[in-house]
């Protein structure tokens, strides 16, 4: 039976991180009895271990609920909980394209934050109807009236359109349900038209192949249909269709206005690109729903197994992760220092951390990750342009005309008293202020154009620390710009270690060189001979330090033939070395490759 569109509401939840999306989703599930009270756990939709542990949402989580409204009618709600971190903007954007409306959740104590605004703009770009929700009204520090005024200013809505809830106590949730029915438009797809379903996510299943998470815009789809990816061109036979409860529930068909899944049988997730539109081979639609844009990795890092034998395993593990993480890219690379590894591309630092942690925890790999870097657009004197994803591959300075690097538009909201500090840390990272606006009472929104490379290192931590945690940050890619960049090399005992090279702005090269040489001196343990640590700029040494040789490490006595004890001691020492990489004759601990991140600036 086709979906009754008039009684359907498709929406997602967007918010600044920690404003309560996941908790609110829990309440909606509970209120609609989608989940029994006895099965209730916190942050129910966050299913990955990492999501639960860190309290962040990484993947979009769709779910279908049945709501009996005050008008006596039963409505189908399709809710999509979206990730709350800038790295996963893309994911949010795709989820929005599956909806007619969105709940914009704002913390009643913290008020509007950087991501609130950016997410709002994103929602407006998708022509979504906004249902503003002030959450956490139970908090002592809540100031819902002030926050409501801000929201009115921001969106231009009526005060009455704003729902006030506590996702913790459930207060206001029944009223919110009515807001949803009232304010979010019903889908208006054409059930008789050719199939058009937009893919907003996918998941790999060993038995059913790639499962596309879709919003059907027009037409319908059922088991056995031959579907076609309008962007990618691949064809698949539908093995199953269904919708989402806590588990996937198979249904004979999906029809216009519905959110659900299509099992495509594809053995390779790249055969079902997110953002692509699915139609049928027999009766194809003419235009896709979205202009398709692939998620582009913004930062790159070299991943190397500590023990060279793990190289194949690293590849297999990346392949497996890739099945559920289309934004992940990787190509083999070789480092003179580290051997065989992969240059892995990520959406941002959080994404990188997550992938690294999963490789280490779920796949048991011991890895060295090199300092993350951005992609440099290098114009050569012969007119060619070269994209450099690895600092050690930057060509000879003599052949370079100019180097471009990605800049982002960063927006920061901070209490007024910290404006000075924010400006100084941002200026220090080559940020150019483009606007500054005073918001309610005592807060300021500042926008900067700044190099992504400066932002990825540790800008957010620094920002948080100078504003005692009050500043919020969001950013989006803006453009490539030419900068005066140079490569800083690190030499250990006179040998350059390619994996330690970084590309930095010329004005900072000396400072970085000094800090790095000092930091490496701390991080590299004493070894059997002095180790000269040098930082070099185009072959010229600009800073140096020395790791003094270890003088004594021996068990003098080997008494009464107790060799077992000696061997056990040796085992311990070997364990300690397991997290070290032998580069030439020098042993470098894993952390040293991220030394730059630890440089106090």
């Amino acid at each position: 039976m086709a979906l009754d569109q008039a009684h359907t509401r498709n929406f997602c939840i967007i918010a600044h991180i920690d404003h309560g999306k996941s908790t609110l989703a829990d309440r909606l599930l509970e209120h609609t009895a989608t989940i029994h009270a006895r099965d209730m756990r916190a942050q129910l939709l966050d299913s990955m271990d990492l999501e639960k542990e860190r309290g962040i949402t990484i993947k979009s989580h769709p779910i279908r609920m049945d709501y009996k409204a005050a008008d006596g009618q039963t409505y189908v709600f399709h809710l999509i909980d979206t990730p709350g971190h800038v790295d996963f903007h893309h994911e949010v954007s795709r989820s929005l394209s599956a909806c007619e409306g969105t709940l914009l959740v704002v913390d009643a104590a913290q008020g509007v934050q950087a991501q609130t605004i950016n997410n709002l703009y994103l929602a407006l770009e998708h022509d979504l109807e906004i249902v503003p929700v002030i959450n956490k009204i139970d908090l002592d520090a809540a100031r819902p009236d002030e926050v409501a005024m801000d929201i009115v200013d921001l969106i231009g809505c009526e005060l009455d359109d704003i729902a006030r809830v506590s996702a913790k106590t459930g207060e206001g949730v029944p009223e919110l349900m009515e807001h949803i029915v009232r304010q979010i438009p019903a889908p208006k797809g054409d059930g008789a038209a050719p199939l058009k379903a937009v893919v907003f996510d996918s998941q790999f299943d060993a038995y059913r192949g790639t499962i596309a998470y879709v919003r059907v815009v027009d037409g319908e789809v059922r088991k056995g249909d031959i579907i076609k990816m309008m962007g990618g061109g691949q064809e698949h036979e539908v093995g199953e269709t269904g919708f989402f409860r806590m588990q996937q529930v198979a249904t004979p068909q999906l029809s216009a206005g519905e959110v659900g899944y299509i099992a495509t049988g594809a053995k390779n997730v790249s055969a079902v690109q997110m953002g692509d539109t699915i139609t049928t081979k027999a009766n194809p639609a003419t235009d896709p729903v979205l202009g398709y844009v692939a998620a582009k990795p913004m930062v790159f890092s070299g991943f190397y197994p500590i023990s060279t034998e793990d190289y194949e395993e690293l590849k297999d593990s990346l392949d497996k992760l890739k099945l559920n993480d289309a934004a992940l890219t990787y190509v083999p690379e070789t480092s003179a220092a580290l051997g065989f590894g992969y240059r892995v591309g990520f959406l941002g630092l959080l994404h990188m951390e997550i992938v690294q942690e999963r490789l280490e925890r779920e796949y048991g790999l011991s890895l060295i990750a090199t300092l993350p870097n951005v992609v440099y657009e290098t114009k050569l004197t012969d007119g060619e342009t070269m994209l450099v994803e690895n600092p050690s591959q930057l060509p000879d300075p003599g052949t370079i005309e100019s180097i471009g690097e990605p800049f982002v538009k960063a927006s920061i909201i901070t209490p007024r008293e910290y404006v000075g500090s924010v400006m100084s840390v941002t200026l220090d990272r080559r940020g150019e202020q483009s606007s500054m606006e005073y918001m309610d009472g005592d807060r300021v929104q500042i926008e900067y154009l700044m190099p992504l490379s400066e932002l990825v290192v540790d800008y957010f931590d620094k920002l948080k620390s100078v504003t005692r945690g009050y500043a919020s940050l969001d950013y989006e890619y803006a453009e490539y710009r030419v900068s005066d960049l140079v490569r800083l090399d690190i030499l250990l005992n006179g040998e350059p270690v390619d994996a330690l090279s970084v590309i930095v702005h010329r004005s900072k090269a000396y400072e970085w060189g000094r800090d790095l040489a000092d930091k490496l001196k701390e991080l590299i343990p004493r070894q059997l001979f002095d180790i000269a640590v040098q930082a070099a700029l185009g072959g010229r040494i600009i800073a140096r330090s020395t790791v003094k040789a270890l003088r004594k490490n021996v068990t003098a006595k080997c008494y009464g033939g107790d060799i077992t004890r000696k061997r056990k001691l040796l085992e311990k020492q070997k364990d300690g070395k397991r997290r070290m990489k032998q580069v030439g004759s020098v042993e470098i601990p894993q952390e040293a490759f991220l030394a730059v991140l630890k440089v106090e600036r």
Partner: protein, 378 residues
């Protein structure tokens, strides 16, 4: 069976756990005994344990060496000493191979003619004297009962009784500067001592020194100072004909300890007594670290063994490297295939040297041997 391929002799280590005082740096299994019956029971148990190995047919090879260590063998009470002496004469000497070496460790304060003479008569031909230092202050710090005077008296006595005398020395105590070390070396070498063991002081957590250092009562001498002393001592001894044939052992040519060499070369040995370790080719095993429990087991006809391991090929190779590099002989280069780059770097830093197809550590290399070995067997 303690008669693996390629070896036709075994050695015997005999542990005597009794001491007159517990030295604050010592982490061996030893104690100040308060049970008047125990020493006699104990030496009888040693003989029984030995017989059990013989009766079990587990060993029938001649004895390359016997070593009475401790603890303090010279601290045994007279009755126990007499039984021990008899056992040496009756059971051990007849099995000793022609070049066989029998060593007894003594401490100066209990090294008297009445202790030593019966042993020598029974067949003991090597005496190791626990001198540790010739400096009054250092001896006090080390909590020893011997003095510079008793040291010399004991050395003279030992040298008068056997040709092969060894002295133990501890280096690197706080405040133990080169002047004091030199005085000790000179005093020892003024006597016809053929062999010296020189150890850098190690502070183990489970000793009184370990607790003192943890509590901040004193600080170990800085590494640079300790290593400086060691290297100077090596030079000094070498100039006087004492060759460093292992990282802590120095001898006039021909007086290297046969017994210790068997540990380093992984030749089989039986350990008798509480806490004693044995090695039989692929297996290592050891006895209880409790003299009373040891006696009870042996008296009840049980094996007093409480640990046993079989070494796999990797472990055997690791042992060969780890023990071989302790010696002046070093190890054959082809045991280290694939590690040429490391070895070359260490050679450049004068930590190792290549010699007739073998790799050996220099004295500076010995000081960081644990680190080198860990890197080699990685």
């Amino acid at each position: 069976m303690v008669r693996p391929r390629g070896s036709d002799e075994v050695s015997l280590y005999v542990h005597i756990p009794f001491c007159d005082v517990r030295c604050p740096y010592c982490h061996f299994y030893c104690f100040v005994n308060r049970d008047a019956q125990l020493p006699l029971r104990y030496v009888r148990a040693l003989a029984t344990e030995f017989d059990a190995y013989l009766d079990g047919g587990e060993f029938d090879a001649p004895l390359a060496s016997v070593y009475f260590g401790g603890g303090t063998p010279s601290a045994l009470p007279p009755d126990a000493r007499a039984v021990l002496t008899q056992w040496i004469a009756d059971s051990l000497v007849p099995r000793l191979s022609p070049q066989g070496e029998i060593t007894v460790e003594v401490n100066p304060e209990s090294a008297w003619a009445e202790t030593i003479d019966p042993w020598v008569e029974a067949g003991v031909n090597r005496i190791s004297v626990g001198i540790q230092s010739m400096d009054e202050e250092t001896l006090k710090f080390l909590g020893r009962l011997n003095t510079p005077r008793s040291n010399l008296r004991a050395l003279d006595l030992a040298c008068a009784r056997v040709e092969n005398v060894s002295a133990d020395l501890i280096l690197g105590t706080p405040g133990g500067d080169w002047g004091k070390v030199l005085r000790s070396l000179e005093a020892i070498c003024s006597r016809p001592v053929q062999h010296l063991s020189g150890y850098l002081l190690e502070v183990h957590a489970a000793t009184r020194f370990g607790r003192d250092v943890k509590a901040g009562k004193w600080k170990p001498a800085p590494d640079e100072q300790q290593t400086g002393l060691y290297l100077r001592a090596v030079d000094w001894l070498q100039e006087r004909g004492y060759e460093p044939y292992e990282l802590s052992n120095f001898a006039h040519p021909g007086f290297e300890s046969r017994h210790n060499a068997r540990y380093w070369r992984r030749q089989p040995y039986l350990g008798l007594g509480a806490s004693a370790h044995s090695y039989g080719g692929e297996q290592r095993w050891s006895n209880h670290r409790d003299a009373a429990a040891y006696c009870a087991d042996v008296e009840a006809g049980k094996r007093p063994v409480d640990f046993r391991e079989t070494l796999n090929a990797d472990q055997q190779w690791e042992e060969r490297i780890l023990l071989g590099l302790r010696t002046r002989e070093g190890v054959p280069l082809d045991w280290l295939r694939g590690r040429e780059q490391l070895c070359a770097a260490w050679a450049a830093a004068h930590l190792v040297e290549r010699n007739k197809g073998r790799l050996r550590a220099t004295p500076a290399g010995w000081l960081v041997l644990d680190q080198m070995v860990a890197q080699l067997v990685q």
